[in-house]
Amino acid sequence: MKEDPGYYDYWPYENRPKIEWPNGARLAFWVAPNIEFYELDPPANPFRKAWPQPYPAIPGYGIRDYGNRVGHRRQMHTLERYGIRGSISLSTALCDHHPEIIAECAERNWEFFSHGIYNTRYAYGMSVEQEAEYIRDSMETIKKHTGQNCAGLLATALSHSDYTLDLFAEIGTELAGDDAGFYTCDLFHDDQPTPLKLRGGKRFVSMPYSLEMNDTIAYVVNKIEPRRYGENLKACFDRLYAEGEQSGTVMCIPTHNYQVSCPHRLKAFEEALEYITGHSDVWVTTAREVAAYYRDNYYDAAVSAIAQSNGEAAA
């Protein structure tokens, strides 16, 4: 085990090369609906329990099923009203279980990226070969069902090993060169995209995904009120939008159909979307588009600036 994952060097949030998003936008805004499948009776993992109750754990299973049966359409239509295309963090088994959902998102030109196969399977305890197998399976499944090269990863149930990101980048290269496996949502160290140092040196981007704005973290872990969640989203936006005048920022709202689409919560979410998309200098986009734009325009400058910053510190 390592003291530090080693993916990035320290880089202060001041005096960075200026990022300008397309059409002079100051803030790139994306929404990441997590569309997940939780198994009622998953195989046991020695390091993490899937459910708190003995089988059948219907409270946790039920509300997540609610997300797909009821919540999905509500969120999809809400995002559509504000011209937002979702960047879906997908349990790829959903392509088999609920192809209707995949079809209607694909029809809307939404992005699909890998969030593993089932959200009740964890990387803990897997061999490197097993982890590579699940990552490859998930990326190939997205390709098969949507035609998209999978650009991004949010590891299955946010479970990682020391090799997760290397494997994802390398399998992406095998499958589609630089068009697949070039960003991750797993790291929360910054409000701007940053280059990551991976085995093999692929140009690979860490996308700000925001655990703090994640509805499940807000509602289940921090247990905040729906209207307060809406206020937090607006406050987060206001600050990043203001800072974006200096250098472009990214705001992501990670959502779950079983949280944000509940009848008592949808209104607060919708009001925040209306507020955010009502500003002129916002690039309403997808994760892939931001990561690719950053990689093509700012990646190399960032790598140099980080090296310089740390060189100066060492000198």
Binding site: F37, E39, L40, D41, P43, N45, P46, P52, Q53, P54, Y55, P56, A57, I58, P59, Y61, G62, I63, D65, Y66, N68, R69, V70, H72, R73, R74, A93, D96, H97, H98, P99, E100, I101, I117, Y118, R121, G125, M126, S127, E129, Q130, E133, Y134, Y219, K223, E225, P226, R227, C262, P263, H264, R265, L266, K267, A268
Partner: protein, 308 residues
């Protein structure tokens, strides 16, 4: 290091659910449902009347709202008992004031412990649902099937004997079940149950002893979940109910009848500082056009008639 081969296999990775209890179905794809009188939103209030034993065993887990302190946890025992002595009568007044019908899910043991209360509910003519024996007699995976069968029978018999009602509906304590709970319920004359909170509308649920109707009783809007579990203010709970009412009414305009399922606990919302927020929510909801205040059986029957 590696995991067993089984961990990398996906035997249920195919169309539909990963079990055979019910079919996969997007709510928006179903035939719209009409409520009586052209109503848009059925308001279903369920009040759970519960007994939390002082000598809690907590098997396989302590029930929500149960004892938390070393024996004898007098504070929680009496605070829960308060609901059946005091809080429930405040709720009955609030329901009557806004002319709202409710159902009552009752632990079978209360028929023995508080027959006056059970009679009072029965005399109102309100529907009674089975709610297990007490809050420390959970139905859970791996429990002895014979023991569970007796538990279901004892719970239902106590309510049926005390009230003369058929008792068609069921809500498991903590909404927890074993592998065979649905079979046992179907076998014992239950025809709808409320434990699986995976939809906003009823849907058919398979058991080896015939079909049940699943009528989800929302956990996310429940007084206990919002105020005790989430630690939200009573005012916020009231706002959440109002926002849910607005959203569901709006959805019903284009998709057909919806249900606002409100789960209440007298030991929680029946406190003097909280009851006013229930009243405020009921006032708001009943002021809207298109509300149908209904019992669970009425909702289930109306829905079933339209499923052919």
């Amino acid at each position: 290091m590696s995991l067993p081969d089984e961990y990398m296999q996906y035997p249920h990775r195919s169309y539909g659910m990963d079990h055979d209890r019910y079919d996969w179905s997007l709510l928006g794809d179903r035939k719209p449902v009409s409520w009586p009188g052209g109503a848009k939103l059925a308001l279903w209030v369920n009040v759970s009347l519960q007994f939390f034993p002082l000598n809690q065993q907590g098997k396989p887990f302590p029930p929500p709202g149960g004892m938390t302190m070393p024996y004898p946890d007098l504070r929680h025992f009496t605070l829960r008992d308060y609901g059946n002595r005091v809080g429930i009568y405040r709720i009955l007044n609030a329901l009557d004031r806004y002319n709202v019908k409710a159902t009552f899910a009752i632990n079978g043991q209360l028929a023995e412990r508080t027959p006056t209360l059970v009679q009072r509910i029965a005399e109102r003519g309100d529907e009674i649902l089975g709610h297990g024996w007490n809050m420390d007699s959970l139905h859970y995976g791996g429990m002895d099937p014979d023991e569970e069968q007796k538990l279901v029978q004892r719970s239902l018999n106590a309510l049926r004997d005390a009230t003369g009602q058929p008792v068609r509906g069921w809500l498991s304590p903590a909404r927890n079940e074993s592998e065979q709970t649905p079979e046992l319920l179907a076998q014992d004359g239950i025809d709808y149950f409320c434990d699986w909170v995976n939809d906003d509308m009823p849907y058919p649920f398979r058991t080896a002893n015939g079909e049940l109707t699943s009528l989800p009783l929302s956990t996310e809007l429940e007084d206990r979940f919002v105020v005790l579990n989430n630690q939200h203010s009573e005012q916020s709970w009231c706002e959440q109910l109002c926002d849910a009412c607005d959203m569901l009414l709006d959805e019903a305009e284009s998709q057909g009848g919806r249900i606002l399922a409100l789960s209440l606990h007298p030991w929680l919302i029946g406190q003097p500082h909280r009851i006013g927020k229930l009243e405020a929510a009921l006032e708001y909801i009943t002021s809207k056009a298109g509300i149908w205040s209904a019992g669970a059986s009425e909702i289930v029957d109306t829905w079933r008639e339209q499923q052919t």
